[in-house]
């Protein structure tokens, strides 16, 4: 397919979705008796217009980049990982436990590596369960990952509420080893925002995912299975092993995301910190068209929506952004196959 058409196929659905979201946003703003242009201006000023807002967008985008990359990694193998929320929470929990267990004097770089490895392992374990049940018993990963969300979150809640919390709260004590520097430590303009160096880890993971998917043999196998499992099996690829790998590493990526909140922002694990991030990761993967760099852009977009809600809250309730997130996902999910069909139809017409 010529790249012009590929670009059309990639760009039209998000643009259509954006247009629909803007129209819905207009209606919601008007229902509050405000002027859409004014509210959108506020939204931009509050997010990209100042260093604090921009820092908050970057912070929120970091978590979404991890869950988005996790979902897209699974989807490349044709598997739907809806367990991002519990994998993220498990990763954050493991990072906090590691940070608590390490002596205060541990050198930062060693503490960080250990915390990140722990987070990845915890997420990977949660991801490996549906992978095993899928390859061994054929249990559908969508249902299993949803069910595991509830199970894992209840288990973590039991650990925190029953055993590990600081009295009167639902979080662990503060960690002292493995604290990630914030952007405001490096540049005072970001003062007060939660953005931290987990952002760099996210960029690194995105590049690693890109390299694996498009430059490594394993990634080639993974994509082959995603496109045509039967053909891949016939071509000598063990589909079961690829599924195991895809869902486990999807869990690892989501799990590492837990460091953004735990090591970078609050320095403790808090019950419910991952709430909603897994589902939004699906949106991010979808809008980013399952490409690691597209995912980064989409994470930035959804983080802007979420931070923008706070910026306009004095005029239109921030809940407007919850509506728009849903609208964007539905519009993209609907526009993608439709645009592909229309383009294909047009191509057939011009061929004959």
């Amino acid at each position: 397919m010529p790249w012009g058409e590929r670009a059309q196929e990639a760009l039209i659905p998000p643009l259509v979705a954006l247009l629909i979201a803007l129209i819905c946003g207009d209606l919601l703003i008007l229902s509050y008796g405000q002027s859409p242009a004014g509210v959108y201006r506020l939204l931009l000023e509050g997010t990209w217009g100042n260093a604090y807002g921009f820092g908050q967008v970057l912070y929120k985008a970091t978590t979404l980049a991890f869950t988005g990359l996790a979902v897209s990694f699974g989807l490349r193998a044709g598997l739907f990982n809806i367990g991002g929320e519990s994998q993220l929470a498990a990763g954050g929990f493991a990072a906090a436990l590691t940070g608590l267990a390490l002596p205060v004097a541990t050198p930062l770089i060693i503490a960080l590596i250990l915390c990140i490895v722990a987070a990845g392992c915890a997420g990977g374990v949660v991801g490996a369960v549906p992978a095993y049940l899928k390859t061994r018993f054929g249990a559908h990963e969508v249902i299993v990952t949803i069910m595991l969300n509830f199970i894992v979150l209840a288990l973590l809640n039991w650990f925190i509420a029953g055993h590990l919390h600081v009295p009167e709260t639902l979080h662990t004590p503060e960690i002292h080893a493995g604290v990630l520097p914030r952007l405001s430590d490096l540049s005072p303009t970001f003062h007060g925002s939660a953005a931290n160096l987990a952002l760099v880890v996210a960029l690194f993971v995105a590049v690693a995912v890109w390299f694996y998917l498009f430059r490594a043999k394993g990634g080639y196998e993974l994509r082959a299975v995603g496109l045509q499992p039967d053909a891949a099996e016939y071509g000598g690829i063990s589909v079961g092993r690829v599924w195991m790998r895809a869902l486990t590493f999807s869990g690892v990526i989501a799990g590492i995301g837990g460091i953004n909140y735990v090591l970078g922002y609050k320095h403790y694990y808090e019950d419910g910190f991952a709430s909603g991030a897994g589902f939004l990761g699906i949106a991010v993967a979808l809008v980013g068209r399952n490409h690691p760099f597209g995912v980064l852009l989409a994470a930035f977009f959804f983080a802007t929506l979420s931070q923008g809600g706070l910026a306009i809250h004095a005029f239109v309730p921030k809940q407007m952004m919850d509506v728009l997130q849903g609208v964007v996902i539905i519009a993209v999910a609907t526009a993608v196959p439709e645009v592909r069909r229309v383009l294909r139809g047009a191509r057939k017409m011009s061929d004959t």
Binding site: F150, A154, L155, M320, D322, V323, G326, I329
Partner: protein, 289 residues
């Protein structure tokens, strides 16, 4: 533990599940994935409170709740059936949309980000002679009605055909799309009623008040292997576990978190085939080009 009060409480907890799971069975048997039940329920709960609040009559709330459930179902149906969008993605988005829409209009109608004012409902719930909440009786009857619909009517036959062999159904002149539209609409109305019951029982709407009940309902559908009566029994089983936990409160023999896990663990066990295989309808979630 008083067995009668246990039973009464169990039934109260089970009613929203029974409504939603019955709806889920209809949609899934037609081939459309029902991860949307949670959103339909939430919409129904909100619709019920708005209708009841402005009319003062809970029956108006029942109607508006069903309509909101139906509206969300139609969005889902148009995207997945007309435009053949991915049912899982749209399903997840419908749930997010329902959370967002109810939050936004909660703020607009009631100027609150957490709950609505108290609204009227149906009478107190349990009397020794029976229940005086009509929705409660309806909830107990719905699974049987759905079983009759699925197994004993021409429409039910078409639903099953659409879910198992859509091509064969088309070849004998059944419009698979129309059948699926109707099936999803029914699931929206029924799950909406589950939300209506929940909201009127608590006499108010609170943010995200369905709290995963739609997912318990879909678990019941799977655990009941897509059969309305077995799904209803699964609902009762899950409700019994919850009741048990509530009545045991104060007794720390089993942490509540582990009771909460029961439905989800049972579903995974059922899907993994450890107690006989749960096999979904053949065309469930498939998009034909």
């Amino acid at each position: 533990m008083n067995p009668l009060s246990f039973l009464a409480q169990m039934i109260r907890i089970a009613i929203p599940y029974l409504f939603a799971a019955s709806g889920g069975v209809v949609a899934e048997r037609s081939g459309i994935v029902s991860l949307t039940l949670e959103g339909f329920m939430l919409g129904g709960a909100f619709g019920a409170v708005v209708g009841t609040n402005y009319s003062g009559n809970p029956w108006v709330g029942v109607l508006t709740g069903m309509l909101v459930g139906l509206a969300f179902a139609l969005i889902h149906a148009v995207c997945t059936i007309r435009y053949r969008a991915d049912q899982v993605v749209v399903g997840v988005a419908i749930n997010l949309l329902a959370i967002g829409v109810t939050r936004f209009f909660l703020k607009l109608f009631f100027a609150s980000s957490s709950n609505s004012p108290r609204v009227a409902g149906f009478g107190g719930n349990i009397k020794l002679g029976g229940f005086d909440n009509p929705l409660l009786w309806l909830g107990l009857v719905v699974p049987m009605a759905v079983a009759y619909l699925i197994y004993r009517t021409p429409f039910g036959l078409r639903v099953r055909a659409a879910g198992e062999h859509p091509d064969a159904a088309e070849s004998v002149g059944v419009s698979v799309k129309r059948v699926r539209y109707v099936a999803v609409a029914i699931s929206g109305i029924l799950a909406g009623l589950g939300g209506v019951y929940l909201a009127l029982d608590q006499h108010q709407f609170t943010d995200q008040m369905t709290a995963g009940r739609g997912f318990i309902a879909i678990s019941a559908v799977i655990f009941g292997r897509w059969d309305p009566i077995r799904a209803a029994l699964a609902c009762l089983l899950f409700a019994a576990a919850e009741t048990f936990q509530i009545q045991l409160q104060g007794n720390h023999a089993i942490a509540s978190q582990f009771i909460e896990m029961i439905p989800y663990v049972l579903v995974i066990i059922a899907l993994a085939g450890l107690v006989g295989r749960a096999v979904p309808p053949a065309a469930l979630g498939k998009v034909e080009d």
